[in-house]
């Protein structure tokens, strides 16, 4: 286990994925590379259980997915509803406003989710172009109920689009894009998708693409513009190169290696999600035994790919994190502005969960027990 394994992204990456990232230089328009990017487009659909969604794979951080939504699906002055469950909801709202959206937010209490009733009443007051939510807010470990949110939107305001920020959920939480009727899933390479960071991954439904095509004014971003990227993605999928900006060739090879594991390897995607649920249960049970309180208020709305726990009373990050570090277990400090100093976060996504032989989860649990125990002990002295 290398350090870095137990933060909620970048997660540890399988060796074959790392090797692929060291692929010798290859022209982005070569006959060898074109089908690799084409396959990545197709396999991205498989991960999200969509047959008709349009993937966009662009060099960038996950953040770039917000720019794509804000500049392609919203026009200046249009109303957007942000369901805010933490740090990343704040930022998504900020991004939407940058491109001219009028943003209303429903902000959940810390550790909570936005209720369907609140979503329903907001949708009744105003015609929203799009409702956005963070599937797993990496700052809190809160898991929003994507299926119910999409259902509520469709029931109350069928024209409104639904965008799921899945940076911390794709390939570690269940997402049935077509069945649930999600219009946008945006994510990044470095979490459940098990690839080094640097790739912005987004899939738009046919309905979202239609909304984009019917814009009154052109997209108000250049680099994030689907007007530029849609023909590129379509060309590569059909097997021809096209040029707007040089793709991150090596990272595409790495993503291809990881997607091949996820969509064609063993365990299957369904089994992977089950393994994430089991690992999560194990870690959360161990924390409960230690008397640690979860940040998510309701265990039904807690992520399966990460956990966030408050420190015991009187204990702080410097009491715990260095003790874990000494055991080669690196966890993340708090991020939510309301209580940054009071909690920590553990990632359990990808190979550390799926490759059970590694024993990562047991090691994390044992180390957490020791470190928390020692920290509490040290405070008594």
């Amino acid at each position: 286990m290398t350090p870095g394994c137990s933060i909620p992204g970048p997660i540890e990456v399988a060796d074959d994925v790392l090797y692929a990232n060291a692929h010798p230089s290859m022209s982005h328009v070569s006959a060898e590379f074109v089908p690799v990017l084409g396959d990545c487009i197709r396999m991205t659909r498989e991960v999200l259980l969509t047959t008709t969604g349009q993937p966009f794979l662009i060099a960038g951080s996950g953040t770039l997915g917000w720019d794509q939504v804000a500049s392609n699906l919203v026009e200046p002055g249009e109303d957007v509803l942000v369901l805010n469950t933490g740090y990343f909801g704040d930022s998504f709202a900020d991004c939407l406003q940058t491109y001219g959206a009028k943003v209303d937010q429903i902000t959940a209490e810390v550790g909570g989710v936005v209720s369907q009733a609140d979503i329903e009443s907001a949708l009744k007051t105003k015609k929203y172009k799009i409702v956005t939510f963070t599937h797993v807010d990496t700052s809190t470990g809160v898991l929003s109920d994507a299926k119910s949110i999409a259902e509520t939107v469709k029931k109350v305001s069928p024209e409104t689009l639904t965008a799921l920020d899945g940076v911390c959920s794709v390939a570690s939480e269940e997402i049935r894009m077509d069945d649930w009727g999600i219009d946008v899933v945006l994510t990044a390479s470095q979490k459940g998708l098990g690839t080094p960071p640097g790739l912005s991954i987004l899939v738009a439904s046919e309905k979202a693409i239609k909304v984009f095509e019917n814009r009154k004014i052109p997209p108000n971003s250049y680099y994030a513009s689907w007007k530029k990227w849609l023909p590129i993605m379509q060309a590569y999928e059909k097997g021809s190169p096209a040029y707007f900006a040089t793709p991150p060739v090596n990272l595409i090879y790495a993503y291809h290696a990881s997607l091949t594991r996820i969509t064609k390897g063993s365990p299957s995607l369904g089994e992977r999600l089950q393994l994430h649920r089991e690992a999560s249960k194990k870690i959360k049970a161990a924390a409960r035994e230690l008397g640690l309180k979860q940040v998510p208020l309701d265990e039904n709305f807690a992520a399966n790919g990460m956990s966030a726990f408050y420190f015991p009373d009187g204990v702080t990050a410097p009491d715990v994190l260095p003790r874990l570090f000494k055991k080669d277990v690196i966890v993340a400090a708090g991020l939510h502005k309301a209580m940054k100093e009071k909690y920590f976060r553990i990632g359990h996504m990808g190979i550390s969960v799926v490759d059970e032989q590694r024993g990562d989860i047991d090691k994390v649990i044992a180390s957490m027990k020791e470190a928390i125990g020692q920290a509490i002990e040290s405070k008594k002295v």
Copy 2:
């Protein structure tokens, strides 16, 4: 020599750079990684011969540099002058307009550069916020005279900023950012900088940063916003982590390896540029002997890191490129819309030039001679 070596980017990458790209996952806020990104910021300055410029290293393609200029240094309705020497001038203008700039262009004839006299008269008619130019337009191999452009701008309109698009020139052409008074150099990782693609690299002068800080309205991009990135770059350089978007950790390790070669290795940066000039002369002389006409009209304004040659009369890309491919020499087809089918492009940047023992340049020349000879012969039959 692996295929891909002889296109004008992505260029072939040294083995230690590839190994660095396969670095095990590392937290972007870890004590190990923070100084690596800090070093990259410092070494980027060294490559551009600036002591006060502010680097921005962001996951993205080179294209993202245009968004940075357009959304941070120009406000909607302001006038910008684009010196257009090919495909990339068109695109930079398109990007500037997307963010609301009023763009005037001086378009050079195909293969030519914009004259200083034309720049001077344009600057006298209007107050431009910024003058942009493509240092080497990858579509034509034309090298603009960066030093003279900056001098003219300073002489006629000292408040106007000068932005150099150096995607195809940084580390293969001389750029003295401070001495010449260039306000922005934007580039990407996959050409002269010898790193896999996926990193947008930009350096802004103190003057540019002041212009940015005195904006009347906030930047109108989110992902490309210096308001977000400036504190991040400053923090990492000082040795503390900060978060806006996850950096492309592996690629930063790779960039670090390549920058270390360029700024601390042998040959020195100055010697590197000299080697690029010599390799370029050799290739251009060989082409001249074959009767090939260069796309750049004046050899004083031809790039040192790439070449663009017209095919002989009656010969087309399918006659030449597959013949080169069989010899493991991959060159690029035409890109400029005016004569896409009529010419080809050879990249000669980075290790294929600097590591002379590889013999890449001689191989390219020998293969070109054979392929062009055979192509001409085949037309006679």
